[in-house]
Symmetry: C3
Amino acid sequence: MWAQRTIRLRERPRRFHLVGAEVLEALPELEQVSVGILHLLIRHTSASLALSENASPEVRRDFESWFSQAVPEGAPYWTHTLEGDDDMPAHIKAALLGPSLTLPISDGGLALGTWQGIYLCEHRDRGGPRSLVATAWGE
Amino acid sequence: MWAQRTIRLRERPRRFHLVGAEVLEALPELEQVSVGILHLLIRHTSASLALSENASPEVRRDFESWFSQAVPEGAPYWTHTLEGDDDMPAHIKAALLGPSLTLPISDGGLALGTWQGIYLCEHRDRGGPRSLVATAWGE
Amino acid sequence: MWAQRTIRLRERPRRFHLVGAEVLEALPELEQVSVGILHLLIRHTSASLALSENASPEVRRDFESWFSQAVPEGAPYWTHTLEGDDDMPAHIKAALLGPSLTLPISDGGLALGTWQGIYLCEHRDRGGPRSLVATAWGE
């Protein structure tokens, strides 16, 4: 069994957002899979996907704080500055966290840990809507 | 061919540990696969999996040193401090390294490079046992 | 459908390089796949693969700048220094960016975003040729 579709996530502000419920709602076919894999790719180079703590909004705020000080805007070594101060740091942050998630499916649902949630990591001030390719396969 | 199982790794101290032999021992079915993929997901948000140098214990010590200075405990920007000083840095480190590995299977074994080993990256002082979901598919 | 092969990338200088065209040229079977996945693993611990901006050479230069200041050579905490000043930082950088890419195939090609390109991230001064295992499956 194979399924593939594009999921459009509405524009969100620069920050880390829980989007797992929204992603799963777009993939009703997962319920038919007893064992398989869901792969998600974000088709952008200034936003990323991650799996992290799904309970506390403070955790997501602290992600923003750490990444913004570790990859600072306005650093003297940036040469690609044409598209705004937030652009080049966004590329680095996106590469550090990665553009995709590969997740096990078990008995019709994702086999994640209790505290794991899917983050959309929006690294641009105005990134616009974001597009994912979701691919699922299994039996 | 599909196989999926949960692997429990005993509690280990905060540090980077080679766990490839232990993981493979739990997956005897890989020997039947001529070409395929093994996917490992750690079901936690304060520990991660990585692939790195499998020979020198100094490399794993230096991983701990770098990550602990790059994501410092007690930094002024942390607001999620309820679960201990090592908790929020652990979430960031886990996201930087990622919760999963996707590895090619060839002729009944993992097709890794000579120097590549599977790391359990334990970012908490007392993380407890860790649970992996291992999913393998192929022909 | 399964295909698996080794791809050898010629030696390149320390830096971030676009290698997507070279990788795809080695995988003519992708054209037969209507929906599937391509998995690439670099079989080394001091080089990595990433997906990032495919247009501006400045972006790739800024990647080198950021990673080289974030993971500095000659830092006092390195103990694994036997193989050269660039060795231990290369292991860290490689783990941060990751050794593999998992990419959706759609209608005979990779379903990437317009601006996404495959980077070979060479973290050693003289890393030598690099070997990838490419595995594709689908229908």
